[in-house]
């Protein structure tokens, strides 16, 4: 390893320490580059430690804050009994089905309103008004129309994830520089080519943030619905465990919800990186 390591300066100020840490971890070929990947873990590990200390020292009664060990064993029990996998599977199914529908419709609506001012005039105001009603405000109506089965959850997730996609695609397309479109015209692109080669790539960053944000929205809506009208899913598992004072099981569900949401977001991020391979690093940052 031929990288010369700078020594911490004698002043020992926080700033130089951070700079030193940065050189160790971020410079190409730096020996402790892997440390960087540990940074996002600092907070979770700290929280875990605090939790362990808090429960060991009985800062809160066990009925309010179960110990990490009891949550771990509840995780094991609920996994072995099939409770956790079943609920996880239901939640994931509702989410993905609803999200796929919401995303598909949202892209169509967003592109249509983005491209055509007439479509905008017809659809956009109504859509905007509807979007301001919280998803749970629709619950009583959907309960009457759809009952309490799978379709209720799928429709509400689709509805919650639809809105951000439409808004972002719309603003993304409207924000495409006219100069770019002129280039397309000079190259004699037809409408389909213009859309595929110029408008969609240029609108992609906005579109994609809508895609990611809508997953979050759909996910939050699903957990809320499960709490109110479901006998399955992680959200149900969470509230049910709370009302039975099985706080360890509740923590399993809470952690499961957090991890699942995080995992889904990371998957979208991975897709984004793949899709944006063609962009130059400078452009990607911009």
């Amino acid at each position: 390893m031929s990288v010369a390591l700078p020594r911490p300066t004698s002043e020992g100020s926080a700033r130089s320490l951070i700079a030193f840490f940065a050189t160790l971890t971020t410079a190409p070929g730096a020996p402790y580059r892997w440390l960087r990947y540990m940074v996002p873990l600092i907070i979770p590990v700290a929280v875990l430690l605090l939790w362990g200390v808090a429960s060991a020292a009985h800062w809160l009664p066990e009925q309010i804050l179960p110990s990490p060990q009891s949550v771990a064993s509840a995780f094991h029990d609920t996994w072995a009994s099939g409770e956790l996998p079943t609920n996880l599977q239901m939640t994931l199914r509702w989410l993905l089905e609803g999200y796929a529908i919401g995303l598909g419709l949202g892209l169509l609506l967003g592109i249509a309103t983005g491209l055509s001012e007439r479509a905008e005039e017809y659809v956009y105001p109504t859509f905007k008004a509807m979007a301001y009603v919280p998803v749970l405000g629709w619950l009583p109506l959907w309960l009457v129309v759809l009952g309490v089965g799978d379709s209720l959850k799928v429709v509400l997730v689709a509805q919650a994830s639809l809105t951000p996609v439409v808004f972002n695609v719309f603003t993304g397309i409207r924000g495409v520089s006219p100069a770019l479109i002129d280039v397309g015209r000079v190259l004699r692109f037809d409408r389909a080519q213009l859309l595929r080669r110029i408008i969609l790539p240029a609108a992609f960053p906005a579109l994609w943030s809508g895609v990611r944000f809508s997953l979050t929205k759909g996910w939050l809506a699903l957990v809320a619905i499960e709490i109110l009208a479901s006998t399955e899913g992680l959200g149900y598992m969470m509230v049910n465990a709370r009302s039975l004072y099985q706080l360890d099981v509740m923590f399993v569900a809470v952690i499961g919800i957090g991890l699942l949401g995080y995992g889904l977001d990371r998957s979208l991020e991975a897709i984004e990186r793949r899709v944006l391979r063609w962009r130059s690093p400078a452009e990607a940052i911009a």
């Binding site: 020292a57 009664p61 009583p140 309960l143 009952g147 089965g149 039975l244």
Partner: protein, 370 residues
Amino acid sequence: MTVSPSPWIRHFLAVLLAGLILSGGAAVSAPAERPPAVIRFGGPGSSQQNQKMWGLLEVARAKGFLAQEFSADHTELQYIGFMTVPMVGEALASNSVDFAGQGELIALLARGSGTDTHMILPISRLENAYLVVPLNSPIHSLEDIRGKRIAYMRGAYIHIQTLRILTDHGLTERDIRPVNLEPASAATVLASGGIDGTFVGTYIALPMRDRKIGTIIYDTHSAPRETAQTGLITRQSFIDQHPKTTQRVVNALVRAARWASDPANRDELISLWVYGTDRSLAEAREDLGDGPLLHHTSPLIDEFIVSQYRNTQEHALAAGLLRKPVDIDHWIDRRFLDEALKEEQLTSFWPALDATGKLREAPATAKAAP
């Protein structure tokens, strides 16, 4: 499993104790135990009045039996209504209330989760459940619900009542298609045909019938074993530190029960139960019926109460709601009630019910009771 109080609570109690000793220094013939500066009562609150309590505890609050008992002590009585039922148990566990009204199931769940509580007297008895089905439903009796989509709130008191009703009619949860719904959504979904029926309490069932959303095809009026009860729950640590205060609270509740059991106070009793809630007088009157309210207002820990707790426990264990059994005989602490009945000379005032909810005495003697 013992939960030792955290250091700051100990510190707080020490300061409290010091304060009490200093302030009590003037009194020459100080009683053996001074009540705490604040006694906190909790229960599920009403949407309109957050001090509203339940059953006999509400009588003792609203008619001033508790205030009177502690009027000379400068003790503040706090009544805390909680938004949801689970919050009541969490408040008991975190030492935020001293006494709480809790239904059978939730009280056993809280005890089962390790909160060191005791049930010291029942404060409400014989709460009814109803089965409501859509208008023109093909369901005409309980036996018809086999294979149907029936809604009730899992893990709530109505869940245990549902299990009791099913058992009494030779059914189990597996014979129906249970749907977990909170009562307001159940009413909506019932109206649109999304479910075939719902088990609910009085104050959901009667409005549903009156608004022509559904028909009541079953209720628990003639089946006491299918009704729900509420107990007054307190923590072991409070009993240990304030046995006299606990006794005085129970004394006041027994006096409240005596007042509530007087037929002359019937109208006032029902209206004070209804006041500040979403319920109507007509609904309460209909649900309570025309007969004497003696069995509703009895504070006795009779065979009926004990067997209801046992039955709740059996169902809760079988349904996986409760993870380990509670020693019910140890958990129910009769000392304070027995003493209160003696002090108030009411040992033979209320007729005891047997395990099935019937009078233990011959019917002839029961008639003599008010």
